[in-house]
């Protein structure tokens, strides 16, 4: 157990994932919530790359998926920030408690 194996990566990605979930559920600040979402996505990326490297070393599928996810994460961040800016303009706050209009 002196070499870094698949398990280490999985432990890392799982911790990252739950840190992300915890952050998303507890933080009020929309920017921090957005950052938590990024953590979730990146934990998945780590999973993809780790499985690709240890289970199918000759293939590229996992790498392609992570590249896709990075791209989508970038786009998502852009959209989310646009929404946050608009919310701020409206409510003069980026506290998620102030954005309750979803129930109507």
């Amino acid at each position: 157990m002196n070499q870094i194996g698949l398990t280490h990566f999985l432990i890392l990605s799982t911790s990252l994932f739950f840190i992300g979930v915890y952050g998303f559920l507890t933080r009020r600040n929309l920017i921090v919530m957005l950052m938590s979402v990024e953590l979730l996505l990146n934990s998945v990326n780590i999973n993809f790359l780790a499985f690709n490297k240890y289970l199918y070393p000759g293939k590229m599928d996992g790498i392609f998926f992570s590249i896709f996810i990075i791209t989508i994460a970038a786009a998502e961040a852009a959209v989310a920030i646009a929404i946050i800016i608009n919310l701020y303009r409206r409510h003069k706050s980026i506290d998620v408690e102030d954005a309750e209009a979803l129930k109507d």
Binding site: V21, L25, V96, L102, D104
Partner: protein
């Protein structure tokens, strides 16, 4: 015969209905009468051409007229062997009917140009007239009993629309509803009859159905006459039910109650629908299925005969007591249709015994002419006097000369005096009844006398009696040429239509039937009619107290007849007291409390439940994410559990 040209006969009125119905009121306005009349004139021209070609050309093969189907499409295919077709069927009676329908309709269209002038819904009126003409033509040309049924209902709808034309008059609205409901109720019988007949003959097609049910050895006719319900064979049931539909449309006792009320419609409409065409649809239907009635099921035919005879006498008695001129004419229509019905009822199939069939169709033809004339004449009178009541009339002969002469011709025709048209057809009917059923013959004879009496009561009350008092205000003339022209044309026809040798063209089996006049036989009916006329002359030629003395001497008998034998009251009693109280109210209670109550309970429960869980919908993103996460974890645990076991 070119089938495209034939298709134009019904389609032209349909076209003008659509055009006038959609654009009439807004864009065409007072020009719409001309459009309707012109399209119908073309249609009538083609009908006459068709009749000429049929009777003197392609219709005859050998010595008999045959059924020709120049156009047919399968409209709805129910199975390999059973389909509902739409088409055109030409045989002597349908050809005769298209001529009658288009011709009378044309006369009414022309008459309405003057009569309805200046009405607010002028275009609507003409579009309804066109709809009616289209439906009636579709009905008479039907190749298929279901096509007949479809157009039958369309005719009912257009009748409803036209009776209720003055829709801001409560009595007209009530009359329209009454007509629709009563005929609809009868049509239920018609529909069941169609189902019974088509179930046993395995077809809806007229020609095939008649062929299968008249050959008594065929398996279809065998099964229809052996299967039974309540001890009566299925065939009798089917035909009787079809006849009930026909009786509803033709205002036979006891389904006649809608016809007198239908006079609330504009008078030209009464002339077209409630005198000449629609009300004879029932007679036409029986004539259409006549071989089945006559060969396979004489018992159903005797129902037709007795219903017709009873109706004719019953209506003639009521007609003597009515004071509204249109109602007198309505009851006389009912009486004359009764004549046509029992003429069919006493007729046999083929040869000499088929005289009743020919006579019935003959009377249908002549009646259409003189009754349309009577109604249009009444229209002119009402147009002049602005009242339907006899007491407001009298002494109009110098004011309305054309109407006076033509009305007199029509009265002589309906009274059956030679050489007017009604004489010939009525004589044939009486002859047919004389040979087969003495009871019906004597009923018909008495009715003929009464008919002459009440028609001349009408005539003398309108045109003679007292001198006309126009209450000081100056009057317009008799009416425009568009009103007098149809009167004159119909007057000529009411005089001469009887000279057509009808038996040569229309008979039960298609072969020419040479009917001889028996001068000796005619003496009794004609002298009875003359007696009726003389009586009316004595009573009503000038103001006298004879009518009052007679009516008070008759006392309660007179009152019963004047109240139309209380048939309307009986209907009201049955519907309001019995049906509404015993069926309607419990059903309404059940609907309101049980059905609605159940639904309301469901609704309330759903509402309470949804209020209680609406708190979950907080609008906070993080709550939603938490639900989502717990859902995912729950599913994951479930799958792991399933995977382990």
């Amino acid at each position: 015969m070119n089938s495209t040209l034939l298709l134009l006969i019904p389609l032209l009125p349909l076209f003008s209905f659509l055009v006038l119905g959609m654009f009439g009121r807004k864009y065409i306005g007072s020009f719409s009468g001309i459009i309707g009349t012109l399209s119908l004139a073309v249609s009538a021209g083609i009908s006459l051409l068709t009749a000429y070609n049929y009777f003197f050309g392609f219709g005859k093969s050998g010595d008999a007229y045959t059924t020709v189907i120049p156009f047919q499409i399968s409209w709805l295919k129910l199975s390999e062997t059973l389909s509902i077709n739409m088409g055109i069927l030409l045989d002597p009676i349908s050809v005769m009917m298209i001529v009658v329908v288009t011709f009378v309709s044309l006369m009414v269209h022309i008459f309405s140009l003057g009569y309805m002038k200046g009405e607010e819904r002028y275009a609507t009126y003409y579009s309804f007239l066109s709809l009616f003409t289209f439906s009636m033509l579709g009905l008479v040309l039907a190749t298929n009993i279901f096509q007949t049924y479809i157009f039958w209902e369309l005719v009912g709808v257009s009748s409803f629309l036209l009776i209720g034309y003055y829709y801001n008059k409560p009595s007209a609205v009530a009359a329209a509803k009454k007509a629709f409901i009563v005929t609809r109720f009868a049509d239920l019988g018609f529909l069941i009859g169609i189902l019974v007949l088509s179930y046993y003959s395995q077809t809806l097609d007229f020609v095939t159905m008649i062929e299968r049910l008249t050959v008594t050895t065929s398996p279809f006719a065998q099964s229809a006459s052996t299967a039974g319900f309540l001890g009566i064979s299925a065939l009798t049931w089917g035909l009787t039910l079809v006849f009930i539909g026909g009786a509803g449309k033709s205002a036979m006792f006891p389904l006649h109650i809608w016809l007198p009320d239908a006079m609330e419609g504009p008078t030209p409409v009464s002339a077209l629908i409630h005198a000449a065409t629609m009300v004879v649809a029932g007679v036409y239907l029986v004539a259409r299925l006549f071989p089945v009635f006559s060969i396979s099921c004489p018992s159903a035919l005797s129902i037709v005969a007795y219903t017709g005879a009873l109706s004719s006498l019953f209506a003639a008695l009521i007609a003597c007591t009515q004071t509204d001129i249109k109602r007198v004419l309505a009851y006389s229509t009912m009486s004359q249709i009764g004549y046509m019905m029992f003429a069919l009822g006493v007729s046999g199939y083929g040869g000499e015994s088929g005289l009743g069939y020919t006579a019935s169709m003959f009377h249908l033809f002549t009646h259409a002419m003189f009754k349309a004339l009577l109604f249009l004449g009444a229209g002119t009178v009402i147009h002049y006097v602005h009242s339907n009541e006899m007491k407001d009339m009298g002494g109009l002969r110098s004011k309305l000369p054309v109407t006076h002469i033509t009305f007199l011709v029509a009265c002589l025709a309906i009274a059956g005096l030679p050489p007017f048209s009604g004489f010939f057809s009525k004589e044939e009917i009486l002859l047919a009844a004389f040979h087969s059923n003495p009871l019906i013959y004597y009923v018909a004879l008495v009715t003929a006398g009464i008919t002459a009496f009440y028609m001349f009561r009408l005539y003398f009350s309108i045109f003679w009696n007292k001198t006309y008092d126009d209450h000081g205000h100056a009057h317009h003339g008799e009416g425009p040429a568009s009103m007098l022209f149809p009167l004159s044309v119909l007057g000529v026809l009411a005089l001469s239509a009887g000279w057509i040798p009808f038996g040569e063209y229309i008979s039960s089996d298609g072969k020419a039937l040479v009917s001889e006049m028996h001068p000796g036989f005619s003496v009794l009916p004609v002298s009875l009619s003359l007696a009726g006329i003389v009586l009316a002359f004595v009573f009503y030629k000038s103001v006298s107290n004879y009518p009052d003395r007679i009516s008070s001497a008759l006392g309660s008998v007179f009152r019963t007849i004047r109240s139309k034998f209380y048939i309307d009251e009986i209907y009201l009693f049955i519907t309001k007291k019995i049906i509404f109280n015993l069926i309607g109210r419990p059903a309404a209670w059940f609907d309101r409390n049980i059905v609605d109550g159940l639904m309301n309970t469901f609704g309330a429960a759903a509402q309470v439940f949804s209020f209680s869980i609406s708190g979950i919908q907080s609008g906070r993103v993080q709550n939603y994410a938490a639900y989502f996460l717990s859902g995912v974890i729950g599913l994951a645990l479930l799958f792991i559990y399933i995977w382990i076991h």
